[in-house]
């Protein structure tokens, strides 16, 4: 602590150069904000964090003002409270006021603010925002009428994701956030990462809901509704409900889905193992062929769309493996249907994912098999929880149920896919198993070198050393790749890229809460679950071997090597 300032007549220690807001929050003084985001430079747009400082003529915004020696700050004078209240009332004056029908009802920062500021009547009779919602995207639903123009989504899209699919258009009180040329998100450069949904304080940005679709399929007697649940969803549920890894977490989710009406609930872990195995095999081949440059992971739909739109020159370097979701979808609709002698039409496959981009991935053209989509619906963690609420299910009072066969059982690698860096490690372990020269070699992942969020690690196999890197957030990934190219590095062999910060643990489909849940905690749960697993690498999972043999022996004579491959192509979008 460098010096003291006076806050509400008591002395407070502060650090040189920090903003007033940081100092006040450390003291536990609540200062309302709408536009403030950690790690981002302050914009000072919402003016809710105003405080009174002695000697200043006007109120100042604490989010942008640095602490100064001998400053006297008052955070709750009548002047401050009056200003804050009126600002909220102004925001509400043209808000649609349809809270009861809003996705974020009860979970909305504007509602909380109105409550905190004691807003009890409608002061201004203004016309409601006349904007139409944009439901063109497969993943993200925008309702500009509910937007409070805090610019959080714009900033995260531009600064963290480098996509700038949405920005402000027009000005004055006609200003709104919109996609390029007012054409809808589906033709914009949006990569469907859903980070904008995560930061939106109101219901202006939500996911395209599949709940109704899934509910309708459950009601249809002819359809067998089959859920498959990503391990990271399990981790999110555990974090949300405060469950400890000593419980059978997967079993609880499985039981919940069964109660909702699922005919079958599978574990996605096997597909994760397959994905790791396929990518590791591709990497081993590439190393054997002596090709230059790293290969990039391809399981993140946001990252893939970004490459297709902005960096098409990287497409040949992408691992051509399908993502775990699509691997599972394909397995379900082809291999499994033959096993149980069912028509693929009668299966309704629902993926439960921590991601909204997966909704887009499921709708990709190459993700259909003979005209039937491999994955029919994708539920995010938020949607899963809403369905559980609707069906009156309390996770805490459930008896765990085992996942359905034949896809149960997965290795530690499946959990590793749930956070940034996990997949790179899983691939490294897999590669090690493939290339190791003697049985006495032990896998040793060097301590990651962290350069501004990009991490690099090395693995020595035999006499050779292989470099693995992982990076999350498109901006970081893009600059890292530029750096790799600029420096002409050939010591990195595999780069894991996740569009969301912290990987799937910070995904766009994760729960949004008043007290934000930390991706770090979800990662911790994944890591705890890993340790409980009996198989450390993907290929240790005996199901893989069986599955490959079965595919090879099937009447179609499919090549198991390319059975889970896909392709990518350049995309023209409005940028």
């Amino acid at each position: 602590m460098d010096f003291k300032i006076e806050v509400n007549n008591s002395l407070v220690d502060v650090r040189e150069g920090e903003t007033l807001l940081t100092a006040l929050r450390r003291q536990g003084i609540k200062v309302p904000t709408l536009c403030h985001m950690n790690r981002f430079s302050p914009t000072g747009a919402c003016r809710l964090c105003v405080v009174e400082v002695e000697g200043k003529r006007d109120l100042i915004t604490s989010c942008s003002y640095p602490v100064e020696k001998d400053m006297k700050v008052f955070t709750n004078t009548q002047r401050v409270i009056k200003a804050r209240k009126l600002i909220v009332e102004m925001l509400l004056s043209n808000h649609p006021d349809d809270c009861l029908y809003c996705e974020r009802n009860g979970n909305c920062e504007l509602q909380w603010l109105a409550d905190e500021m004691n807003v009890k009547e409608r002061k201004f009779f203004a016309r409601k925002n006349p904007y139409f919602p944009d439901g063109s995207s497969t993943s993200v639903f925008r309702d500009p009428a509910k937007c409070v123009l805090c610019s959080r989504c714009v900033r995260i899209c531009e600064e963290t994701q480098l996509v700038t699919a949405i920005d402000f258009i027009s000005r004055g009180n006609q200003i709104r956030v919109n996609s390029a040329f007012n054409k809808g998100l589906n033709v914009s450069s949006c990569i469907n990462c859903g980070q904008c949904i995560m930061v939106c304080p109101t219901g202006a940005l939500t996911d395209i809901s599949h709940i109704e679709k899934v509910q309708a399929a459950i009601d249809k007697k002819k359809k067998e509704v089959m859920f498959f649940v990503s391990p990271s969803v399990t981790a999110s549920m555990a974090e949300h409900f405060g469950l400890k890894p000593d419980k059978d977490l997967g079993g609880l989710v499985c039981a919940a889905l069964k109660k909702i009406g699922a005919d079958k609930v599978f574990d996605l872990g096997l597909a994760s193992d397959l994905n790791v195995e396929v990518e590791a095999r591709l990497l081993a081949q590439r190393i054997k062929n002596g090709a230059k440059g790293p290969i990039f992971s391809s399981c993140c739909p946001g990252w893939i769309k970004y490459v297709e739109e902005f960096r098409p020159e990287l497409i040949p370097s992408l691992a051509v493996s399908k993502s775990p979701q699509q691997i599972f979808g394909k397995l379900l609709k082809t291999w499994y249907t033959k096993q149980v002698k069912m028509l693929p039409d009668n299966i309704y496959s629902v993926a439960v994912m921590p991601c909204v981009g997966k909704k887009f991935e499921a709708s990709r053209e190459e993700m259909t098999h003979k005209g039937i989509s491999e994955v029919d619906a994708v539920l995010t963690v938020r949607e899963l929880m809403r369905m559980m609420r609707t069906n009156g299910i309390d996770v805490r009072n459930l008896e765990p149920m085992p996942f359905d066969e034949p896809f149960s059982g997965s290795s530690a690698a499946a959990w590793k896919l749930g956070y940034s860096g996990g997949k790179a490690e899983a691939i490294a372990m897999e590669l090690f198993e493939t290339l190791k020269t003697s049985a006495r070699d032990t896998f040793k992942f060097s301590v990651p070198k962290n350069i501004a969020g990009r991490k690099e690690s090395k693995v020595t196999i035999g006499k050779k050393t292989y470099g693995f890197a992982w990076v999350s957030g498109i901006e970081r990934a893009d600059s890292y790749i530029n750096q790799l190219i600029a420096e002409g590095r050939d010591d990195i062999h595999y780069v894991e890229v996740m569009a969301c910060l912290e990987g799937c643990a910070g995904g766009g489909g994760q729960p949004i809460n008043r007290i934000p849940e930390k991706p770090r905690n979800r990662k911790k749960i994944c890591q705890d679950m890993e340790k409980l697993n009996q198989w450390k690498t993907s290929s240790e999972n005996p199901a893989l071997e069986k599955l490959y043999r079965s595919i090879k022996n099937s009447p179609d004579q499919e090549n198991p090597e390319t059975y889970f491959h896909t392709n990518f192509q350049q995309r023209e979008v409005l940028k």
Binding site: P42, T43, R47, I87, F124, F125, R171, G172, N173, I175
Partner: protein, 649 residues
Amino acid sequence: MKAKSAEELKQFLVRQVLLNPRRIDLPQLEKELSYISRERVSKPVIYVGMGTCGRIAGADKTFSAIREYLDDHGMDVDLVEGGCVGLCSAEPVVDVQLPGKARISFGNVYHEQVQHLLDEIMNHNLPEANIIGQYGNDISQSWEGVQQVEEHPFFAGQKRVLLDNCGLIDPVSVEEYIARGGYWAFADTISKHTPASVCQIVEDSELAGRGGGGYPAGKKWTNALKTISDQKFLVCNAVESDPGSYMNRVIIESNPHRLIEAILIAAYAIGATKSFIFIRKEFTLAIERLEKAIENARQYGLMGHHIFDSGVNIDIIVKQGARAFVCGEETALNNSIEGKRAMPESKPPYPSEKGLWNKPTIVNNVETLFNVPLIIKNGAEWYKSIGNEKSKGTKLFTLSGKIKHCGTAEVEMGHSFRDIVWKIGGGIPNGKKFKAIVLGINSGNYIIEETLDTRVDFEELRNIGSSLGSGGFVVVDETICMVDLAKFFTNFFKKESCGKCIPCREGTARMLEIMEIATQRPGKNNNFQTLERFKGVMQLRGLASVIKDSSLCALGKSAPNAILNTLKNFKSEFDTHIFERKCPANVCRDLRVFLIDVEKCTGCTACYKKCPVDAIIGSARHPHFIVEDKCIGCGLCYDACKFNAVLIQ
């Protein structure tokens, strides 16, 4: 005297004048320069004031009529597109300078008067025209019975320091500017002064920023000079978008070289190698002249790389700003130059620490910069001798509104506002009563009858809750409704709000809605409307004070000024609108009710024909009648009646 070729002239002006330390001691040089500057002429010269205001008044037509006349008569006359002398109400202005005779200035010369004017003047006779005055001096013969220009009431009270060349010279000609002492200060700066000493001179002169705040320019520069950075920028803020102020445009149009010189000196002083002039796109003529002037100056080697072998590199880029008032706010301006949306950022960090591309950037107003060459040339002491004890120098105002002499005037600091209105401005026409002066849209309190004796001085204005503003000077008389004026300004701010911060974006719209309800036509038995009106009016003051208190930038902070002013100084007028539903000045259209005086009405049906809503009934040659329920208060009947039979109730 032998005529020089362009290259010889350039060599002469650069070697003998700019780079000559003994130039002022040489009488021969002075004579030669007076020919270049057209103080002495060997053939007649006609100047036409071709500023934007002149062109609007018809200077283009006058100019072509003069050209035609000269061609027809085969006269060898220099015809010069000049700048603006400042007296807008006398535009188009034509000056004639005959060899050996004093230059004489005529006002309101429309194209039809050209024939008579030139017929007479070319024969050394005084024509019948609106003579503004003559520029008599000791090297030429004066016109008999013609007043000096300085004796004209509009010019008599002024102290023309910044406007000295405006209207007198060919704006884009670098030769003429150098011959009149221009760029001398810059040449001396790079040969004699260090950047630190330039900053010191400006600091000693106590030059205060003219953008409104009055922050000392020298202090700003010294801080920027001390900041260590690989690159610094200087930005000239020429986004003058206040309703009712246009003096920056006038001085750029009339004397662009002064601005260029000032920017060169300022850039040298803070160590910037690149400077921007951020100018409104609508100032097409100013941009055109500025670009021409920059091109001319570049040919003289006055900017670019290694200026006059001194090792100084300065480049000037003219950047056109899209139509937005908010660009005048320095952080928004910087964003706009960078190619981003023109939205202001919260300060700190100030642009002088982190401005354009996060480099230290000094943003100065045009008028502030205009002072700089004069300060360097004449010294800080000279500058301090102008003005009063606290505020130094002069201030430009654009007098407009209900005033006799409209135009750009320059007054010494310390002048009282009463003098400006009644002496320089010539008072209010038609003997109407004075109501207020609006000093620019963002200046705070209006100057009202009680505060008219305030002097033009940063501190005195601050004491009455106002500020110098940007230099607008709109005089309001009793024919203007203050509620309507407040509505106009609120609407302006609503339209110009960038939409970034909530108080300004939503608040201006809400204030305007309340003002609109307050001036809406009284509905029949509409209790909800009445409730809404009273509810809105009750919120108005609180709303306005919160917007003023919590907005992000100066635009938002000044948006409620008009309403707060009206509520403070013209409360009774406002109340009449709310409670009695009447507009005392008969301006608010929806509150006007017309009726026809039966005694006076002749039944000419002129009003009947004009009425757009068929609210007037009656037959020809019989008195007419207005149906009040149908009337929309447009006032067309009032204008149409030749017998003053239509009255406003």
